[in-house]
Symmetry: C2
Subunit: 332 residues, 2 copies
Amino acid sequence: MIIDQIKPTKIFLLMDTNTKEYCYPLVEENLTDHTILTIFRGEKEKTIQTCIQIWKAMSDLPLDRHSLVINMGGGVICDMGGFCASVFKRGLAFINCPTTLLSQVDASIGGKLGIDFENYKNHIGLFREPNHVIISSVFLNTLSQKELLSGCAEMIKHALIDSHVAWEKQKVMNTPIIPSDEQISQSIQVKYRYVLQDPKENGIRKALNFGHTIGHAVESNLIETKNISITHGEAVAIGLIAETWLSNQCLGLNKDNLNSICEYLINFFPKIDLHNISKQQFFDALKQDKKNKGNKIIASLIRDIGDCVIDYPVSAELCWDSLNYYKLLSAQ
Amino acid sequence: MIIDQIKPTKIFLLMDTNTKEYCYPLVEENLTDHTILTIFRGEKEKTIQTCIQIWKAMSDLPLDRHSLVINMGGGVICDMGGFCASVFKRGLAFINCPTTLLSQVDASIGGKLGIDFENYKNHIGLFREPNHVIISSVFLNTLSQKELLSGCAEMIKHALIDSHVAWEKQKVMNTPIIPSDEQISQSIQVKYRYVLQDPKENGIRKALNFGHTIGHAVESNLIETKNISITHGEAVAIGLIAETWLSNQCLGLNKDNLNSICEYLINFFPKIDLHNISKQQFFDALKQDKKNKGNKIIASLIRDIGDCVIDYPVSAELCWDSLNYYKLLSAQ
């Protein structure tokens, strides 16, 4: 067992109320002595205030530098728990145990850790790979279709930046979603190949940001307005549609691909009402994007399926137009 | 100029009220366009709440990933500003410009960044070297003798873990303190040699912790009681005396060295009244030391001058006795 190799002085298990109820019972018996901390579920808990709560619990035990943190949950738990572990006493070992499809195919690898700040997504954080990642499909049975759907957006993105072959395979997947171990593994491998080539995201890894310039701006705005609940996957699906349109406008992605990608996405994901987002709010969120350089908004677009162009500057106005393209689309 | 090489999109200059008043006028004219943030001075500001204030200011500008943070001040500013920069949008470039003798010989290199948390020193943080460090003796003229004294404790430690030759040179230094560029440079080089061999402090770098097991526990306690103001150097000086005694008790450091080291230190630094620290408070602080493994308190001691033994387990009781040794010493 991995934990036996690490020989930690103490084990600290971080979960949210959801994973405590549904996932913890599946693994509890296999874990040696450990202390648990359960926090409320949801992206709105991914704050510095929750980190303070976690660091207090770690200090009270106290954990020492040879203790182990296990993060069992979705992206919020893995990102925030990894961040907390990485800066507690300047860095403890941690294992991520992602329990949602989204966190399995996305947050589990790549070493992006952190929290939201002042409504900006993942604004405070760092790069560090977990000491281990444990992925088990047993947790997927605990998820609703909405949660599985959220993970699918990143799987679709992986297919689009990988190859026509991957995209053709992806198009077969439909609701209700029951991803196979093989599909999950293939999707993770796309991400893994990019991360391995460029761990700190100075170049080609930015391809993984396809859909995320618009996606994050939409998500930030909807966190802010607080009247609409949206999953990360739903925001990324909007981003993928908008940025596929931008790819057509800016890089000449051909019309057939534009149509087939957007048709698939708009039918796969529920349509989200974006009329509450004002142009100014949207521009403000775009301006805070971590990818920006100076005043330039930067996106990762596709010239063709499997052919990504990174560091592409786009105007805020054109981004707004891409959102209007989404608003005008309708499912069939 | 270094900044011209970096070509930052924006420059963010962090200072405290002290450096704003005394140091900023010395460099203002040589700096290109920049935004300043001034925070209150002192160790009690080295908190997560101040980090939140810094991150808000960074977000408001906004800084992007190609911006540069310059930390101009003592250890608090360099440690906290470096930490804030390192996790803002997952890491901005930063330059440390240490203005105190203490931060020049200690905090400026080694990459230990962070803040205090719940009265525990440097409890939250990480390892990252600044992109550049600018050390200028022009700032030393702005310091009081008390502040220069604080820096001397680390210089004395460097001499003790380096060699008999360094120690003989150090002993010549006396109050009033006017350190030469050469003395500062030699002291930094001792630290630099250790850091270079072991950047993440897994082994030999721990020699630099000599004096800091007891020193930090005393400092934590005095932060907590809040009625006594003590500089880091004064706490380290107490730690050096206590741990030199421990070195004699545990490793047979010879009596002549014990006497000469402690006599030098007790005459160099003002005697601090430690009667307010209860045994239990002291034990609690020792338990939180980042160097500990499980329940064991770990210290770095010296078998001889220039011959350090790391990872040496000491009992809490013996640590308490070492503090009593300090209490019984008197200056001549």
